[in-house]
């Protein structure tokens, strides 16, 4: 009962916010709907018994990525989205127009359909365990897996993040010339 309610709520939140994200005309609102979607997905993780992943999702996305996105939106002109092309042609609003949406919708639909056809058989081939698994916290298992089977990935991810940090810091660093100009 509880799981079902949680699932339904989370699924509704996820899909609803995703759709809202799609149709929102304001990029700031899109970001906030992304937040809702991500929290919904965290809820879905909970219904799958993945407590650690759920909380990680919340921590990284809510605390990190969404805030970063909001900052980035502010830095790139915020809501007032200026585009030279827009002025030129006057028919391509930044958030897409009905044609771009139409094309995108059809393309994605075809793609998803083809993927559906492709994986349909694989899904059938997967043996689904029917019996209910008792909920056991995954923290310890994840910790041990990270230290044994996936230790390389664990270590490498730190290197990846270091690379991302350095790379992004170099790219985003305020320009020296700009300082001089001001």
């Amino acid at each position: 009962m509880y799981v079902n309610i949680l699932f339904l709520t989370s699924a509704l939140l996820t899909v609803g916010c995703a759709v809202a994200m799609l149709i929102a005309r304001n990029i700031m609102h899109s970001c906030i709907f992304l937040l809702g979607t991500l929290i919904g997905i965290a809820g879905l993780y909970v219904t799958l018994g993945a407590d650690f992943v759920a909380v990680t999702q919340t921590m990284v996305y809510v605390g990190g990525i969404v805030i970063l996105m909001l900052f980035a939106v502010m830095l790139t002109g915020g809501k007032e989205f200026v585009s030279r092309a827009q002025k030129l042609l006057g028919l391509i609003p930044a958030m897409g127009n009905k044609w771009s949406f139409g094309i995108a919708f059809l393309t994605s639909f075809v793609f998803v359909l083809s993927q559906f056809v492709l994986i349909k058989n694989i899904v059938k081939g997967v043996e689904v365990t029917k019996e209910a698994k008792p909920f056991v916290s995954t923290v310890e298992e994840i910790g041990e897996l990270l230290l044994t089977d996936h230790v390389l990935a664990f270590e490498l991810s730190s290197v990846l993040l270091l690379g991302a940090l350095i790379g992004a810091a170099i790219i985003a660093r305020p320009r020296k010339e700009r300082v001089a100009n001001d």
């Binding site: 700031m28 407590d51 919340t58 805030i67």
Partner: protein, 376 residues
Amino acid sequence: MNTTIAEYFLSFDVFRSFVSRISLWLGTDVTPFIVFMIFLLGALVITLVLATVGGFGTYAERKISADIQARIGPNRVGPYGLFQLIADGIKMVSKEDIAPKTADLFLFYLAPFLAIFGVFSTFAVIPFGSGITLTDLNVGVFYLVAISSLVGVGVFLGGYASNSKWSMLGGMRGASQIISYEIPVTLSILAMVLLSGGMSFGQIVGSQGAFPHQWFLFHNPFSFIAFFVLFTGALAETNRAPFDLPEAESELVSGYHTEYTGMRFGLFALAEYVEVFVVSGVAVSLFLGGYNVPGEEFGHSLAGQGAQATVFFLKTCALYYVVIWIRWTFPRLRVDQLMVICWKYLTPIAIFNLVGCAVWLVVFDGKSMFELFFHH
């Protein structure tokens, strides 16, 4: 392992037989319903208590500041001005709700919700006693850190949506300050997770004891430092002085909630005051022995739970007092100092503590300083 308040109640034979009798009487198993009711009641009670505490926070703040400044403080409404809080509440509710005309209304209305949501969701894991914890998640501390980062989004949106320059500056500062100080706080918490061997509050509090020498605060030199890192970080995360730059009233009017009025402002303020209490509670649970009272058997009984909750509240309130004390003692930082303190002092120190705790754990096999000195 995962114990909830419902499991605590169901561990009493009396209660279990009571439930089974009702089940027999109704002809169906009512345990899930009872569990739900316990959760609901517990949640309501805790919300009520903490909201009141948060309300009293404003009162305490004014009273203590008055004390420090040798004034009297609120003294008109009720005895010693105790009902000031109710008066404030009524004032909040009955004020007109104004939104700036250029504001982004959707986000303007959403922002206080995110703040409230982020703070209130953390109540679910705060350990008031070994039984009086709504739920003792295995990812407890982690969950608390994660969900409270919503407040940062709320603050940012509050600043953004108002479309006022003061708000914008405050929101920016608030968001970047909150996320920055999350790092040393998380790393300090990580050190305690390391020492206790689990992320659940039950585990962390359970591996401490009632007496100060069993607390993680005095477990080793690193954890001693880690407490101060955490406490400083917590002050900044809750925008308390001397880190109250986002709402620095002398420079930014009122920061991110400049444009908020009435109940919306009230909710922001409530979230803020309650959050201070929550982080004090977390600091108490992580470092100051939490709800621990002497005696194993005693702790499980109902009276023991009362004692535990009392101990917890006392410690937390003491810490709350320190927070207010600090506010009225230290001057506010500049924004560059704020960043320097976070990234150049607190974070390296926190990493150092983490490494120190890990090495200590391996070298001394998890024994605390006192065990090493006196256990022979």
